[in-house]
């Protein structure tokens, strides 16, 4: 009788240990997978930002030809914009691309200020449409960048949180970098 009881205890203990081990493995797998997913989300969101950069670059030829017909816009600004477009197309790293688009932004801002200062320009449909496309693209970029930073924040918070941090350390997950706007304070 005593022997049978002892056997039962051993089996129960084994089952409990096995269940705990299984649960731990399942948790490890699930956490690892969710970290992989979040990491990929950050990547695909950056691709989304780049799509919008490309959209802005694609607008430049139309911009130069439309705006070039009006003397209110400075010729030097247009030359700079064309040069920056060439630079962007030759840029190989993400850092270079971000640098060029930031320079481009300040030139494009000049175009928009000129447009706002001359009401007669606002009545020309071609110019007005172009400015709408330009400001719309600018806004798309800032929205996609904001979402990128949100995803980075989620991911970074996750890999630093306990106990997921063990999985992150073991799986070689590193903190992702935020996009930092040149004229804004760095995000928290």
């Amino acid at each position: 009788m005593a022997l049978a009881n002892k056997k039962l205890y051993t089996i129960t203990a084994l089952i409990v240990i096995l269940a705990i081990a299984l649960a731990t493995v399942a948790w490890l797998v699930l956490t690892y997978n969710s970290l992989v997913r979040e990491n990929e989300k950050v990547d695909s969101q950056w691709a989304q930002v780049q799509n919008q950069y490309q959209r802005k670059i694609d607008l430049i030829p139309t911009l130069v030809s439309t705006v070039g017909a009006y003397q209110q816009f400075e010729a030097s600004t247009l030359t700079n914009i064309t040069q920056l477009r060439t630079q962007w197309m030759n840029a190989t790293t993400t850092e270079d691309q971000v640098n060029v688009t930031n320079q481009l932004d300040s030139q494009l801002a000049t175009i928009i200020v000129t447009y706002e200062n001359y009401p007669e320009l606002q009545s020309i449909t071609a110019v007005r449409d172009l400015i709408y496309e330009l400001t719309g693209t600018e806004n798309r970029i800032s929205v996609e960048r904001m979402r990128y930073n949100e995803y980075v924040q989620d991911f970074n918070a996750h890999i630093k949180s306990f106990p997921a941090s063990f999985v992150a350390g073991w799986g070689d997950f590193e903190e992702r970098e935020y996009y930092q706007s040149p004229n804004a304070p760095p995000p928290p």
Binding site: Q48, T125, R128, D129, L130, I131, Y132, E133, T135, G136, T137, N139, R140, I141, S142, V143, E144, M146
Partner: protein, 234 residues
Amino acid sequence: MRALAAPALVLLALVLSQGTASAEYPTLVYYVTDQVGVLTSSEEFDIQSVCVEVYEQTGAEIAVLVVNTTLPDGIDMFAVKTFEQNGLGQEGEDDGLLILVSVEENAWRIEVGYGLEGILPDSKVGDIVTANLVPYLAVSDYYSGLYYTTYAVGLEIVTNYSGTPHTSESQYPIPWIPLKTWQLAVVIGAIVVLGVLTKGRAFLLWMLFSRNWGGGGKNWGGGRSGGGGARGRW
């Protein structure tokens, strides 16, 4: 004790409504949300019927929102966040559109869902607004501006966008209350009886629940936007 009951109920209602109103961006209960009071209810109804028509024919969801101010976010971010929080347009189709007017800032913004960017490029949205919204806002005729703009974008959507028609909503006599005629009659009857029996005190309870009931208006589809559209001032 009885004398204290009514004020206590009002206080409770106020506390609860404070709690539920904590959302940072406006909850769009139905197609037209006027936080300022520039539209009369019949004017809201006119604009809503255009939105309902577009929704039934294509599934695209147009929402109109009038606010006092969009600060501190600014109108661009405010529009994106409001769109995101409410989820205008069908999930996966992303065919929502938000018409936002900020009265104190004299600013407007049209936020176009990803799925409608193809038929409503920024320049087209800008042209529509230049012709239909700005001239009226300049003379404080919010109704005409919002109505013509909603109509113009709605026409653009119905003509060029083939979504999924949704005609199910029309089975209710009051489209934003999902009750059939007899259910509506029962509810109204119950309210009247309760009001008479309690000599009107039952309506204090209404204050408690009205906020939560208000949330049962329009179930937006869960669509997304990415900053497409146009903005400007008047």
